[in-house]
Amino acid sequence: MTLFLEQMLNGVQFGVMLFLLAAGLTLIFGIMGVINLAHGSIYMIGAYAGTWVATETGSFWLGIPAALAAAAFTGAAIEFLVVRRLYGRDHLDQVLATFGLILIFNQTITILFGRQPLFVSMPALLDGSVELLPGLVYPIYRLAIIAVGLLVALGLYLLINKTRIGMLVRAGSTNREMVRALGVDIRLLYTLVFGLGALLAGLAGFMAGPILAVQVGMGEQILITTFVVVVIGGVGSIRGAFFASLILGIVDTGLRAYLPGLLRQVMVGPEADALGAGISSMGIYLLMAIVLLIRPKGLFIRNS
């Protein structure tokens, strides 16, 4: 039972991590209609900038503003220099441009930081584990990630449902043309949303530092999974992104944890393990295909 609870926590932790990335992506996607492949690069930039500052200054905490600032600045720069020119254009042009950006960012990081992954130290405060229940020992850092993720989700909920900007965002994701027609300064709104999305991606990147490898290409690894989240949740829906992230995190963790064991009941050991690993790799894609076949617009968008 404690093992099951631990796996659930693992799923939630993976889920909130995905949410930080998916929230920005779904807003940019839903409101501006831009497919931003470079979102993963911003995640990488957040990780590098934060880790570098943390290592140079010796303080993990100083890394946080550095990561946020670098990511938000990069995001705003991308919006201002590149994406702004592509709003009216085809999705395909956006794909090509942001694909170009991925190459540029990856190589620039390689030139600046070299090819070796960076070392990240863990702050003493968050190092170690706590016993949540008898027999359930869990790393503090992961609990902190869950807490930050849930706080961000709450903050976004308040921002979107209780503020004027949030109202515009909501309006923008349902009917872009209408917001524009009402004379709202859409440019400012766009830059703000893009910057906010980038900020969250940078935060995710920095928080991932101590548990993952900070290396070139870390963004693309998670980018596709994030797109899966966005599509399952429904494009433009923060609520959808939140629940889809959690579902995906838990399903993915659950498959990895329990599928080989279940298969071993009916098959020989090694084959069951290999098959189980194969199926759980496909798991999130299979889930997405099934969701889309039943609800073509995603889980949290009403089909019209």
Partner: protein, 387 residues
Amino acid sequence: MNFRRMLLAASVSALAALPAFAAEPVKIGMITTLSGPAGYLGQDIRDGFMLALEEGKLGGVLVELVVEDDGLKPGQGKQIAERFLSENGIKLFTGIVFSNVAGATIPDIVDSGAFYVSPNAAPSNLAGKECNENYFVVSWQNDSLHESAGQNATNLGYKKAFVLAPNYQAGKDAIAGFKRYFKGEIAGEIYTRLDQTDFAAELAQVRAAKPDVVFQFHPGGLGITFLRQYEQSGLMKEIPMVVAEPSMDGVTLAAVGDAAIGLNVSSHWNSDFDNAANKKFMDAWNKTYNRPVTYYASQGYDAALAYASALKATRGNIDDADAFRDALRKADFESVRGKFAFGPNQHPVQNWYALKVEKGADGKPVLKTVGEVFKDHGDAYAADCKM
């Protein structure tokens, strides 16, 4: 900017200084992976190789090293090989890091009569049925890495092991290799994913199975992630770990830091080896590069030494392929790992050592050699090789 035609500054000046009879430099083509997360592997192979050049010469023969990035794409590697062969007239090749690039590229190279000395990848088919007289490996056969880890676990007296590796060919080979030499029982076996970023689910299973020891194979960034999470979950204190060198090279160690202390590693080379060739290599490395050394660099260096020995014996005449091949086969060079010889399939027969990660003099973790695992270990595929 690093240009491909790395006619090293040294060799340019050497050329200029020599009288008119100076021969054309012998070209060596290096196809390696320099971009993406695995870029540091190719970088170290290249830089290790270059350390062996003495004023632009290998074995007293002027050489020109031509380096190109395969981007970890088999098609790209093949294309580069073809251009090197047909346009640059290159006959000596080296550099490939990954088995999949090797599989697509090496058959073309050796089929056209050129030589290939592998500084890293050595897939099983090329060691067995598909072996070739122009194909040499100075690193190891892929399986040996994990066989040594299995033997190491047996030597350390562990009875119950939990094994983890990514669900791809090299991962399955790793687990098979480990099991071949591990005498205890397997408490559990998990295949992870190549694109996995979170191992919490697997670690929970490891903890539940309560094994004596964990064996895992996760190269590069994957390994850094795995080790960090293993340590953070508190498992490092409870269950010791054995790995083979791809999961714990110098760069991985620097990125993981103290989390790796106590780890048992098996390797064919370590930076603290006490022999003249290795001391020379380590001095040169530390003087030239300001970064941790990896075994990839040592293999690049040994590949250069192997070519140097043959170039010296043939006085730079590579047109007589038979003579050049015979000279290469003798492996007449001082390897940085000490004893070295080629087996019947031209793969190494060498010793394997047990290393342990300990706190070094400066407080940073280092890999320390603590014992021997195998003596004169070859590979199982040599039997299938008919040359």
